[in-house]
Point group: C2
Chain length 408, copies 2
């Protein structure tokens, strides 16, 4: 008998029929002899409807943060009640808990609160009493008793935090894909579902835009060594286990090839190569709330330097304006940019022990005559920025080189 | 400076525009120098949508009571968040409170919980800080921390209970009519809005089917001597004040004529006139959850008796079946019924001091050739059951006799 936390997203509970489907899944797990805690999101569409109401009331201005959380939290509250009813209809006792009721304590930063503690007593007590516990993801309560929400990816994080607090055996993340793939199957026909992946790799993949798990939840699970099982709501097949590095038996050199088309690059040509320059460029960007991803600086022979960086594509024109203002002050020869780029990355724990992976990557791209504009590396990741038009070819070629080959 | 509790029902907060309208109203009161607590219902239509979801999940069976309350309570939570935002948009600080947050303690009878205590500290503290407090009607929290709802008329009751706990100066009940009328204006052209009415009269009128105030809330206000002001959400005119008898200056003999078409009558002819008979008829009805209103028993000369009673029209056929079974056991000559009756009543504190009101009522009906089937009286009310077809004529004639005459 294990203690299992199951998390279902908005699509999985999108209507009554799907909620009943989730209930069947939960009851199966319960009847297999396990204790079950289910964490759910708002029904898909629900949050958007609430956001739109708030926008109407506040006339486009950002709504008051405290009240916004009171409003948004009704989404999950609706789902927990309906799911608890559906489980009871199948003959198993079930009780629902809002964030406040289950003791999800957060700080008081509304709309993006951080979890401070989970009081597991209520859930333990109800599990002991034989109930399935249905808990609201995304929401918590501050010390002053105010409702808070965790911001983007909050439901995954709620589920993982509760699983850690309960010392659960596994946290199952149900989603509309059936696991973590070596590449986007829409781009790479031979993309493979990974049976296991290490936390560190998953973190890199999530940071690179793989939407299957939220970064915060992976960090949480990694810190506590809690195994995650990413699997499909619509099938009983095993998905992908995300677990500590030492438990991932067969390490691939490269376990995933990703592509992110949500960035744009900006270049300041020929700025003085002296201390303090970077700060004068990036401080105003930070002040404008623009998050810079890659930064590359090249030394030129004439005592000047070129600086190139990437920003989210949605912030491109604002960032370009700010960069131009900074460039003027620094007597930059010119400031230009490009918003049709793609960042293609390979990720793998095995890289640490295998020299020459970067070289092989560059050779593959050279053979396809794809020009590399920027390069950035970490211990288990290599990213290159290329022309967006070549991204599919690049991903396919890299997948063939590093992954297909191994499985043949 | 006064402390004012304002209550707005589902129609008054039915969409964003109406919520903004309510916000303006609240802000006006606040800027006139008063402390304001606003109690709101779910947006109209919202509760029905939630009920329908629950019905879909539970396949027509009654949904689990605890979870049903978790579900229904999201309706008001949505409204309080939106209204607090709308008030803030107008430049006044506002904070919303769910039933649990504001300390509305109830017993744990889900779906029809009774208020046990209101902890006014949170609201007092926030009022002192200068905020408008926006509270969710209809919902509370049990000692075990479970969400409860108060059942029908809950929002009026919430508002009145909070006003009593805060020792407010008045509880304003905003509705889609502009006060309490001497009769239904759709039936009686000359129906007048009452400036003042005593609690006792209002209780009788509410019991007789006047929908403007819920019985529970009137009882609460009466017990604490809290003045209620029933008025329109859509106009600034004074409505009707409901207050202690001694403060209603000019007492009319009859302050209202009502008509209730939601009952049906059932008659057991010729049952033995002996002890225990009534119990054998009414115990099975009570067991079936059927509420009997009027009961009349006539003595016949042959040692038998006729018994007639009324039940809600929705329960008529079930009640008739039960009565027939009881009639068989009691060797009743026959059991029959009629579901096209109307109960017409006159209500007025002045009746206590004026003899002959009943006689005048019967004479008026006799002149219109309306046959009286049943009669029931209290100190400040006389009700008669007549053929439904004659109800409008009866109400108009009684209004002309007791009310129009006085105001001429």
């Amino acid at each position: 008998m294990a203690l299992v936390v199951q998390k279902f997203g908005g699509t999985s509970v999108g209507d009554v029929e799907r909620i009943q489907n989730v209930a069947r899944r939960v009851v199966e797990t319960k009847r297999a002899g396990h204790d079950v805690v289910v964490c759910v999101s708002a029904m898909s569409g629900e949050t958007n409807a609430l956001v739109s109401l708030a926008e109407q009331v506040s006339g486009g201005r950002p709504p008051h943060a405290r009240e916004y959380d009171v409003l948004l939290s009704v989404g999950e509250q609706k789902t927990i009640a309906l799911l608890a009813m559906a489980i009871q209809e199948l003959g198993e006792p079930a009780r629902s808990f809002t964030g406040a009721q289950m003791g999800m304590r957060t700080n008081s930063e509304h709309n993006r609160a951080r979890i401070e503690a989970v009081n597991a007593d209520v859930l333990h007590e109800n599990l002991k009493g034989g109930s399935v516990c249905v808990i609201a993801g995304f929401q918590g309560v501050s010390d002053s008793g105010d409702i808070t929400t965790l911001g983007r990816g909050g439901s995954d994080t709620s589920a993982v935090a509760v699983a850690c607090a309960l010392e659960a055996d596994v946290c199952e993340i149900y989603t509309d894909v059936d696991g973590v793939y070596t590449a986007d199957p829409r781009v790479v026909k031979d993309a493979q579902k990974l049976a296991r992946i290490a936390f560190e790799e998953m973190l890199e993949l999530a940071s690179l835009g793989a939407k299957v798990l939220q970064i915060r939840s992976v960090k949480f699970a990694m810190r506590y060594g809690l195994p995650l099982h990413v699997r499909s709501s619509f099938s009983a097949d095993e998905g992908t286990w995300v677990m500590p590095e030492e438990e991932v038996m067969e390490q691939l050199v490269v376990s995933g090839v990703t592509c992110n088309k949500n960035e744009a690059k900006i270049r300041l040509q020929s700025v003085p190569d002296q201390p303090g320059i970077a700060a004068r460029v990036f401080t105003p960007l930070g002040d404008a709330g623009i998050v810079v991803d890659m930064i590359i600086q090249n030394y030129a022979s004439d005592g000047s330097t070129d600086m190139t960086f990437t920003v989210p594509r949605a912030d491109y024109s604002r960032a370009l304006e700010i960069a131009k203002a900074a460039g003027d002050q620094l007597s930059s020869r010119s400031v230009d940019g490009d918003d049709s780029i793609a960042k293609v990355s390979i990720v793998g724990l095995g890289m640490k022990d295998h020299a020459g992976v970067a070289t092989r990557m560059f050779e593959v791209l050279a053979r396809k005559e794809i020009n590399i504009q920027m390069i950035s590396t970490s211990e288990i990741k290599i990213s290159v920025v290329i022309d967006e038009a070549h991204s599919d070819v690049a991903v396919q070629a890299l997948h063939a080189e590093f992954i297909d080959d191994l499985s043949d």
